[in-house]
Symmetry: C2
Subunit: 138 residues, 2 copies
């Protein structure tokens, strides 16, 4: 994660305690937290950090390409720190758990030119849905 902080400083980021804490929270396991969960975890380390700052920082990390925004259901967006390795998501339709998966094939190549309607297509997001083992047996 010091890597991340280095990269950010190199891009002209002013390094504040708040930003460091948010980055550290995301650096943990490859879990996909909501903004509120990030805020809760950040508060444990820096009690007075505000919700607005967490949203601002997450938005900046997304636009810098360090974090990916995932909205799997219509609910809260989740933030995926695993932005530097191409991957897709497997979501439990019941409990909402998200796992990173690595399908074979390149979905971008599967969209022929005549199906692009003149769009400049840049990214593809593939979301697999189903029941996780725990929910399937419940």
């Amino acid at each position: 994660m010091s890597d991340l902080l280095e990269r950010l400083r190199g891009r002209g980021w002013r390094l504040t305690a708040q930003r460091r804490v948010v980055a550290e929270v995301l650096d943990g396991d490859h879990v996909h937290y909501t903004a509120d969960e990030v805020h809760a975890l950040a508060t444990e380390r820096l009690p007075e950090i505000s919700r607005a700052t967490v949203y601002n920082t997450l938005g900046e990390l997304v636009s810098l390409g360090e974090v990916i925004e995932v909205s799997t259901d219509g609910r809260a967006k989740r933030y995926d720190p695993n932005a530097h390795h191409a991957h897709q998501h497997l979501v439990c339709a019941s409990c909402g758990t998200i796992r990173d998966v690595h399908p074979s094939g390149d979905p971008l190549a599967d969209l022929p030119a005549e199906e692009r309607f003149g769009f400049a297509v840049s990214t593809v997001q593939v979301t697999y849905r189903g029941l996780c083992p725990a929910c399937a047996s419940a």
Copy 2:
């Protein structure tokens, strides 16, 4: 669309003016309306229909499999009446326009068993993002 109404009646739906109007709105072109847009269009035909009823009816149509719920951004969900033909979506990152597309290949087959983590995977949603011609030239 009378097809749809027939199917719904066959499933025990009580046929009310409100439900008929919502179904008629969705039956139009293959546009992807938000719930509020559906409500606005329904209001033109049945002035006193309430927001809650539109949400209820859309939810029922989704759980009956007659309509697909699409949440492309974190904003309002959109409702896709083209539920009986497999297709994916192409979204403009700038203006939010959605088009139905038909990529080749089967993304479900691209997820090997060892990448399923015991999930019972049932559906795949593929979303292509890019700029539509109008936004690209702006």
